[in-house]
């Protein structure tokens, strides 16, 4: 292992940028379960690059299991950090809220049930098929949430409102028994979304 580290360090020094090449401002590396504030990205001079970096940070939340498990490409929601199929088996139905006898609210309440371990929040339902995030890239998600034909006809202001204040979105940070919360806070996601929109709402490649 020590040899490998030495080899990597040597590679790093061998590929250093030439003196006049544009150098990206340093962004501190943080764990994937931490969310950075918009101010961290203020050093990126290029507005478009800053916007793309801000969305990349937002994607830590949007692609988190607490979010993508209900943004699925098929009939079933997922469970857990490994995206297992929902158990008991359920189908989305025509309104993304299940079918008679197995509606989301047959079991899910408007709040988590700690003793029964059943998660819940107001308006519990699947995202429509047009809004698939599971196994998608930050680019895919970014293009989708800007596309009014695929985002529920929401403006960017509506998107910000949804991310920053929606009570079902808020569940991602208070998911209840045994579930990993989304990184950061909903307020911080709202700040990132506002900064992303303010810088042109550009999508990462």
């Amino acid at each position: 292992m020590r040899l490998a580290i030495v080899a990597l360090a040597a590679c790093g020094s061998a590929t250093a940028a030439p003196p006049h090449a544009p150098v990206a401002p340093p962004i501190a590396r943080v764990a994937s379960d931490q969310l950075q504030a918009p101010a961290v990205f203020a050093g990126i001079a290029d507005r478009g690059a800053r916007s793309r970096a801000l969305f990349g940070e937002m994607a830590k939340v949007l692609l988190h299991p607490r979010c993508v498990n209900c943004h699925t490409p098929d009939a079933s929601p997922r469970q857990g950090d490994a995206h297992e199929l929902h158990d008991p088996p359920v189908v989305r139905g025509s309104g993304d809220r299940g079918v008679v006898g197995m509606m989301c609210t047959t079991c899910h309440q408007d709040h988590n049930l700690e003793l029964a371990r059943v998660p819940g929040a107001p308006g519990w339902h699947l995202a429509p098929l047009a809004m698939v995030w599971l196994d998608r890239t930050p680019h895919d998600v970014c293009e989708q949430i800007k596309d009014r034909t695929r985002n529920g006809d929401r403006s960017l202001a509506d998107i910000h409102e949804h991310l920053a204040k929606d009570r079902l979105v808020a569940w991602g940070w208070s998911p209840g028994w045994g579930r990993t919360p989304a990184p950061g806070t909903q307020a911080l996601l709202g700040e990132l979304a506002a900064a992303w929109i303010e810088t042109g709402a550009e999508c990462p490649p």
Partner: protein
């Protein structure tokens, strides 16, 4: 005090708003037809109707049912036990141990109310949350179809 109509009868229940509906039904009102199975909304034995829609009574807090109408297996038909599904259940000999059947019938009744001619897939999707540990699923499906046919008769 929580006001709720259960099987057509008005009740004002002095219970904790977080008490599961199933507790109120069985322990406060003595309506023991609805069964406790898992307590986690995973088996369907406790299924009742809330304003006509199936819910798991074991995880439904009393504050959710305030001012609303609950129907249990005791109130599904008048006279009790005379719903076409209940007659079909008997005719097909569906139950083995019988513990799950109240929940099965309540879900099936809601299915037939919404979809009088369910396909096999419709039945499978709607009944997927009602577990029968005796494995009588083939007879359950047959009874639902028999009841659907009965309901179609003029």
């Amino acid at each position: 005090m929580i006001h709720v109509k259960i099987n057509g009868v008005d009740h004002d229940l002095d219970v904790d708003p977080e008490m599961p509906l199933l507790w109120a039904l069985r322990d406060v009102l003595g309506l023991t037809g609805t069964k406790f199975g898992c307590g986690e909304a995973l088996c369907g034995a406790c299924t009742v109707h809330l304003d006509g829609d199936p819910v798991r009574a074991c995880v439904t807090p009393m504050h959710r049912v305030k001012g609303r109408e609950v129907t249990t297996i005791e109130g599904l038909a008048d006279p009790p036990g005379d719903h076409p599904l209940q007659r079909a259940w008997v005719a097909a000999g569906v139950p083995q141990c019988g513990y799950c059947q109240a929940g099965q019938i309540m879900t099936a009744a809601a299915l037939l109310a919404a979809n009088p001619t369910p396909s096999d897939d419709d039945i499978a999707h709607s009944m997927a949350g009602n577990i029968c540990r005796c494995g009588t699923y083939v007879r359950i499906r047959a009874a639902i179809k028999a009841a659907a046919a009965e309901l179609k008769k003029p």
